[in-house]
Symmetry: C2
Subunit: 145 residues, 2 copies
């Protein structure tokens, strides 16, 4: 299904998704048309979901990053989910099992902004906020084999 060569290609693209087909051909030992065909199939099958870019939020003034655990008040689950989606400063959010219904990542420019945003949520939910001090593991791929 996904063989060694596909994994080499995925790994190479993970490192730099703007690599040319020719460069990928060199890395994988195939010709560039073959690489193009493999990428097409990986996309088609949904293994490769997209090509994207990593940016530094600090460059846009987002000095603070927080992980927020969110527990909606009774009957407010839908409303809270909608609110989170509507606040663009929430850059990711998972709905999880356990007492906390949502765990979300929040980027803000200041403590004041953090306070303001969470106050908005607090009419419909309890929140628990942890400020990110450091990121010991940057986003990476789980092992493939």
């Amino acid at each position: 299904m996904t063989d060694d060569i596909d994994q080499v290609l995925i790994k190479a693209l993970m490192e730099d998704s703007r690599r040319s087909l020719k460069a990928l051909a060199g890395i994988s030992g195939l010709s560039s048309p073959s690489v193009a065909e493999r990428l097409r199939r990986l996309e088609e099958r949904g293994v490769l979901k997209g090509y994207t870019v990593e940016i530094d939020p600090k460059c846009f003034g987002y000095q603070l990053q927080a992980i927020v655990r969110i527990r909606p008040l009774p009957g407010q689950l839908q409303e809270v989910e909608r609110q989170i989606q509507a606040i663009p400063e929430f850059t990711e959010c998972d709905k999880v099992t356990g007492d906390d219904c949502f765990i979300a990542r929040l980027h803000v420019r200041s403590m004041e902004q953090l306070d303001t945003l969470l106050d908005g949520l607090n009419t419909h939910a309890e929140t628990n906020t942890a400020i990110v001090k450091k990121t010991p593991v940057k986003r990476r791929l789980p092992p493939m084999e």
Copy 2:
């Protein structure tokens, strides 16, 4: 510093980082050499930290995704951090303020694997695990302006 055109470029690359310079030129209204120069500067300044790829972990058998809060036992902070980094199934980890020292994302193939991995950690830390049921907000950019 970063003007409107840079933001258009970043947004376009966020959607598809394999777009050609020519395509980016069309989107931004510049010529392709100008786009190349802007990208070069954005990289140089660290705004654009890299071009990467989104893959579907399910395609590699990772059926379960969990958010794990980790509180090292007294004196075990360094050791726990090292352990997390060494376990490739942890695909991201933040060191945060509050009772929980680390919040990490874990991809596993089964409940058994989840149990095994956390048992390894539990000799040095208390953990609190929430299984991801759904992802209401996929990774996205905070507002830029």
